[in-house]
Every structure is written in structure tokens, then in C-alpha cells.
Amino acid sequence: MDRRKFLEVAALGTASSLFSWRAVAQSKSDRLLIVAEMNANSLDTHTVGANRATYGLVWMTYDRLMQFGTRTLPNGVQRYDYFDLKPQLAESWEMAPDNSSVTFKLRKDVTFHDGAPMSARDVKWSFDRFVKVGGFPQRQMELGSLTDVDQFEVVDDHTFRVKLLRSDKLTMPSLAIVVPSIYNSELCKKNASAADPWALEWTKNSSAGSGAFKVESFKSGEQVVLARFGGWKGGSMPAVERVMYRSVAAAGTRRALVERGDADISPDLPPREVADLIASKKFNVESAPMANTLKYVALSTVTKPFDDVRVRQAIAYAIPYQKVIDSSVFGRAEPMFGASSNAPTDISWPQAFPYDYDPEKAKALLGQAGLGSGFETKLFFDAQAATIDEPAALVIQDALGKIGVRMSIEKLPDFAARRSQKNWPMAIDIFGAWFDDPDFFFRWIWHGQNTVWNVASYKNPEMDKLLDAARQERDSAAYAVLVKKFIGLAMTDVPVIPLYQPILDVVAQRDTKGYVYMFHRQVDARTLHRT
């Protein structure tokens, strides 16, 4: 054998032995691999900078007093039901006759992962924690009027009372979201220090809950392995024993992993890939419209010529909505255009606005506003959403050109940081809310209190009056009347033109079932199973 021949044989030999690893078959019926762009950067949502993936993780490793029920969407996909609160660690609860407090009876059989029994003192410590740690948890719970440690009272070992500061319909649902998770207070206290009384440094890398899954290993931002907790009392036992969440940054790689069958679920493939995979019919694609989420164009109502409502309406008639949806998200969105009138018939939110592509009507409205010859303006959008928003911006630019509006486009890398400056004549933005009450969503964008999300700087005393009244209203019939009124007003005034409601497409293998859409948009492994 000469030298060259030897090298060839040797090279082939190593290559084939390298690649024969696949022969080592994996039994994967009771475990799942979930690949997403982002992975949890903490094991506790209370820590500063905890990302969205952390919400999904804490959702499974901790429990709450209450949880949301589920309902089925028209396409058969399951989603959480905000208006159906069910017990989790609490057995039952009772509102005081004068609505001044709510008393929770706790389950007596709950243990944390380390075996310690859960009592009302753990609940009290956990609730004190979210009002004391500052940052996101504190701000979030303030929205539900939960602000003061004196509101939380241990009645006995298994009875816990929350005093209500005011009548606020967000208080109860607030207790079923991720923030008010119940922590193992004794374990946390052991790992606390004078500088860090709430043991945030420790819970960042260690878990102290009673949830369906225990953390088996955690590499911040990279991967988390969860193992089923045999003593879970917060719901019916998960079917899968182990779940791995793994960050895979490149979308192309995520798609390849799913197509090869190595990954079981990818919840965040780009719309173009999803459209392809749906067409292939080889996967179980679970699609749910993102609850309380809108993609829209905001028009600055304090900038000429958008201070004139006719100009805003003209723009709303000049946008080819279907074309925007097709070119930016490949049809993966709920349309928000084409309603028959600006008097809503129901209080569902988001709902379609009464505009459609009608350039003649747009031109006529511009003419009435004295702008028949058009004008110049500028549209801003977030560079981080460029793959989706840039095609939309180009379609809008083209369409506005046809009614004489010369619109230039600017892509901002620091869009989020500059949102509060509110100096954009036009901007493409997105907003999502955690609570399903329409007045909650409206407060962020249409209320004169002018949050950072009111990019249009919209202020209308009539709107404020309707929203403030709706916030207080306990009677559902009276509430519905108010909601229809303020949605109608938003339709007429159009400081914000909805483009579409995004859809969350979760691509799973054919045999992987049981997905439930959650408000935090992360994949909840507790209900997943293989068929």
C-alpha cells in the first residue's frame, strides 16, 4: 500500500466512524427537545433582566394560588381562558361580602421539590417579595392594585387573606400570572443574606418551587433540562418525564432540526418557514392568534397634517392590508380590516376596523382636508423587527405614493429606547397585553395619561372618560356598552391603524400533541404528550 492509498483509507475510516454515532438509537418517547431562539437567562422572574423565556420556565417549576382554565379556538387549538379562574394551590376562595378582602383556603397536601410542606407563611413571604423587590414584578402587580405587604395576612397554616385596596377587576387574574408564584420561604431564607434579603442571587440559579417540573440542569441562556416532579399537586401529572429547552439562534438551523425529527417543537420559526412547513403537511402546526396583540401604524396626532382626523382616515383607506399581511408575514396573521361599520357589535378585542383598501376614498378625504396635492412624511420602524416590518413599510410607501403622499422610511436600531420621545410622524409598532380586558389594552395606547406606548400622542377627553368609567364598572352589561363606545371612538379617530393581529405558530412533530397557547407565549410542557 503506497502512502497516498494509506491516507485515503485512513481518512475514510475516521469519517465513517465519526458519523456512525447515529446508530446509537435514542429512546425518546418520554422526553422532549424544544428549540427556540431565546432561552431562559434566570430561574426566577423576580430577578432583574429575566427574559420572556424565564416566564415560561417559572410557569412550570412553580405554582400559583390560581390558574387559568382553557378553551378551544375555532381551529381546534387550545388556549388559556382568562375569564375562567381555577384553583391550583388554593382549594377555594371567598370574597368578603363588602368586597374588602378575599380569603384563600390552601391545599394541605402540597410539598415543595425538597419535600417541605407548603403553608400560608410561604404564600405570605412570596407575596411580600413581589412588592418589595422592585422592578418588573412590583410594577406588574401594581397594575392589579397589589402594592403593600400589609395587604397580605396569614390567618392560619392553611388560610391566607388578601385585603383589597380598591375594587379592581385586575386583582384576581393578577394572581394567576407568572409573578405571584409561591416560593419555598424557608429554603430561600437559608440562602438569603443581609445584602440580599429576598435571596434573588440564589433563586437566579436555583429553583425553590412546587411546580410540575424540577430543574435538572441550567446553563443560563443556553439550555435547561427539566425533570418531572412526582409529588406535584398543582394539576394532572405531565406525560413527559424530561424536557430540554435549548437555544438555537439561527432560524434555518431550527427548521432543519425540526424537519430531521431531532427537535420535537420549535415555537418561533419565521412566518416564511412556517408557511412552507404547513404546506408540506408533515407537521402538527398549532396556530393561535396572539392574545391582545396588535401590529399597527401610529400617526402622530400632534404633528401636521395628522392632527386632522380626515388625513388619518385617508391613510387608513390607502393601506392595502392584505398585501401587507402577505408580503410581511406570508399570510400568518388575523386580518384587522374590512369591518362593516364603526359601531362594534361585540366586545371581543382585538377586532377588525371599518377600513379597507380604497384609494379613491383616500384621495377624496385628502382633498377635503386641503391636501389634494399630497404631502411629505416619514415612517419609522424597529430594526429588530426588520424582516417583518420592512416589507410592510415598502408596501405602505408604494400605496401612499399612489395618493400623492411621499413617505420616506427610516429603520431604527434603537427604536424601543426612542419610543418615549414621540417625535415620529408615522411608526410601525406592536403592543401586547397580559390581561384580556379591552379597557386594559386601551389604557396603554389610547388614554391621555400618555404611556410610552401612546406613540400617536393621542389625547381625547371623551376617550379618557369612557376608559376610566370602564375600569371601575363591575356590571357586565354596562361594561359592554362602554367597551363598544371606546372601540368605536378608536375606529373613527384612528390615531392608530391596525395592520393585523400576529399569529403564534408552534411547529411540532406529528406525534407531539397537547399544546396549549399561554399568555406568556412560551411552550408549556406540562400538557404535552406523544401519541
Binding site: S17, L18, F19, W21, R22, V24, Q26, K28, R31, L33, V35, N41, S42, T47, V48, G49, A50, N51, R52, G134, G135, F136, R139, Q140, K204, S217, K219, S220, G221, E222, M244, R246, S247, V248, A249, A250, G252, T253, A256, L257, E259, R260, D262, A263, Q384, L412, P413, D414, A416, A417, R419, S420, F431, G432, A433, W434, W444, T451, V452, W453
Partner: protein, 332 residues
């Protein structure tokens, strides 16, 4: 030692520039981390927690004090100290880049030598075409192409999920270099698994380095082969193999080494995209994520670590010069 001291001003410059650049870049960490629906109040509060409400001078002074203690601060994205993050990820990057450089040298040097020996013949043209192609394809593209062909179409390569099979038993970490750890633990299957995961990303990265290395080897060899001492050696009827590989190649090594140093530095930056494609848990993907989130401490830590690496590589090359070329040693 003297060389180490000479590297210090470079590092000082890097510290200042990286501090200023991170502040100049668009983006505000307070807004990024204030959650989905931040109020102006929440942002202001976070800015205070992150000490962003102090003047730039104060921030810089605080950063220097931190550095003096060997503390690079804390990353907001991972929530961990930057030193810990980097030391966990550095071996992954070094293993990948080192393997890629070795691969590139293994291909480029023989190719360059062959091109020089048969100048103008078929092998020379092949050598030129290969090096031009390798140079003109961006690393992320070759990475995706390799994944597509060897994983997706042929199913030969393992899933591009980092350094080892994610479902396998984790190897006890000693050095952080998977291959070395596997050898230390005498774990043959982990070694194979690690190697299998390394082949594609290292090849993608190596392709980026083959171009310049081939060209430089060829050029240097051509110059040496026409020099007087080779002609003299030829006249002594020395064996061809000894002539080319011992005398000529050794003298052609200096420019190749210099380029090798450049290529190594270049590969570290090309790493950023290759790591993304292969979910490689190295410092490149870490820096990319940190940059998007305006995570100042992590970005500065990354820049400083890479700068230190560059300085060390340059020193190593200086020392290698001395070994390869007696003249350098004597002049030094």
C-alpha cells in the same frame, strides 16, 4: 516578559475604546430589560439600579476600579458574572478556532507548496481557484451549506446543537475542551461525539482561512525556490523531498506564520456567525446576544478578552519566529 509589558498600552486603549463604543451604540439596556410594557417610571428605576444615571466619567471610574479587582461586572443577559461566563465559553471558542486553523494549515500549506512547485500547471490553477472560492464565501454561508448537505440532506453529521449530543450524559468538565476532557476521562464515545460535532463548524471556519494561507505559502515558496541557496543545494543533488520540505519550506515559514496569526484573529471574529449557525456555546454567540441587548459589561468583557488573546497570539508568533529563523533570535 518585555513583550508582555509592550502589550499593555494596547489593552489600555482597548479598554477605553470599548467603553466609549458601547455607550455610543444605539440602544438602552434599561428599556430593553424593563419588560414588555414598561412605564417611564419603571425605566427610570431600572436605570438607577444599573447605575446608568451617573455621569460617563463616574461610570468609567467605577469600571476601572472593578477591572483592577479582576471583576468584569455582571452580564444582564445571563445574569452571571462576566468572568464566569467568559471562562465557561472561552474553551469552546478556542477549541473550534484552533481546530479550524489546524485544518486550514493542513490544507493550505501542501496546496500552496504544490502550487509553487508546479507553477502555471493544473495544480497551480486548482490551488488558485480553491483559495479564491474559499475566500469569497462568507463563513455563515458555508456553515449553512454544510448543515444543509451533511445534516439535512445526507444525515451524516449530528444535529447542529453545539458541542455534544444534548441528550447524552454530560462529561465531567476539567479543561473545558471537550476532546481533551474525553481523553482525560478515557471516554471514547464522548470523544467521538465531540469530534463529530466539531467537524462541520471547524470546516466552515477553516474554509475562511484557507484562501490567504494558500496564497501566502505559494508566494513565499516561489521566492525561496528561486533563491541562491536552493539553487546551490540543487546542484549538490540533494533529495527533492528534503530540499523542498526541510530547507525551502522552513525558510518560507516566516510569512506563513505571520499570516497564520492574522488568520487566527480573523477566525475569532468569523466565529461569531459560525457559532450562531451551529448553536456553539462560545464567546462569539455570547457577544452577539449581548450586543443586541446593549449589555455593556458583557460586550466590554468580550472585547477585552479577545484583545488579550490577540496580544498573546502576537507574542507567541514572535517566539515562534525565533525558533524558525535563527536571524530573528540573534537580532533579538
Amino acid at each position: 516578559m518585555r513583550r508582555l509589558v509592550l502589550g499593555l498600552p494596547t489593552l489600555a486603549g482597548v479598554i477605553i475604546v470599548s467603553f466609549i463604543l458601547t455607550r455610543l451604540l444605539p440602544g438602552d439596556p434599561a428599556v430593553y430589560f424593563a419588560g414588555a410594557a414598561p412605564t417611564a417610571e419603571a425605566i427610570a428605576e431600572l436605570r438607577k439600579t444599573l447605575l446608568l444615571d451617573h455621569s460617563l466619567w463616574d461610570q468609567f471610574a467605577a469600571y476601572l476600579v472593578q477591572l483592577a479587582r479582576g471583576d468584569l461586572g455582571r452580564s444582564l443577559v445571563t445574569g452571571q458574572p462576566v468572568v464566569k461566563d467568559l471562562s465557561l465559553r472561552f474553551p469552546a471558542t478556542l477549541e473550534l478556532t484552533g481546530t479550524a486553523l489546524a485544518l486550514a494549515l493542513l490544507v493550505a500549506v501542501p496546496l500552496g507548496v504544490a502550487g509553487a512547485l508546479r507553477k502555471g500547471r493544473a495544480i497551480d490553477h486548482i490551488c488558485r481557484i480553491v483559495s479564491t472560492m474559499a475566500l469569497s464565501m462568507p463563513a455563515f454561508f458555508t456553515g449553512l451549506l454544510l448543515v444543509f448537505v451533511f445534516y439535512y440532506l445526507l444525515g451524516l453529521a449530528p444535529a447542529p446543537l453545539g458541542r455534544v449530543d444534548p441528550m447524552a450524559f454530560p462529561l465531567a468538565e476539567r479543561t473545558g475542551f471537550i476532546l481533551l476532557d474525553a481523553i482525560l476521562a478515557w471516554d471514547w464515545s464522548s470523544f467521538r461525539d465531540g469530534l463529530a460535532h466539531l467537524v462541520l463548524p471547524a470546516s466552515a471556519l477553516a474554509l475562511a482561512g484557507i484562501g490567504p494561507l494558500t496564497r501566502v505559502t505559494r508566494g513565499a515558496m516561489l521566492a525561496v525556490l528561486t533563491s541562491d541557496f536552493i539553487r546551490a543545494a540543487r546542484s549538490y543533488d540533494m533529495s527533492r523531498w528534503r530540499l523542498v520540505y526541510v530547507y525551502a519550506l522552513r525558510n518560507a515559514m516566516l510569512p506563513v506564520l505571520t499570516t497564520g496569526g492574522f488568520v487566527f484573529s480573523f477566525l475569532i471574529s468569523a466565529n461569531v456567525v459560525v457559532e450562531k449557525v451551529f448553536s456553539w456555546p462560545g464567546i462569539g454567540s455570547y457577544a452577539l446576544e449581548a450586543l443586541v441587548a446593549s449589555d455593556y459589561a458583557a460586550v466590554q468583557g468580550f472585547v477585552l478578552a479577545v484583545a488579550t488573546l490577540y496580544v498573546l497570539v502576537n507574542i507567541a508568533i514572535d517566539i515562534l519566529y525565533g525558533i524558525v529563523d535563527v536571524r530573528v533570535r540573534l537580532a533579538g
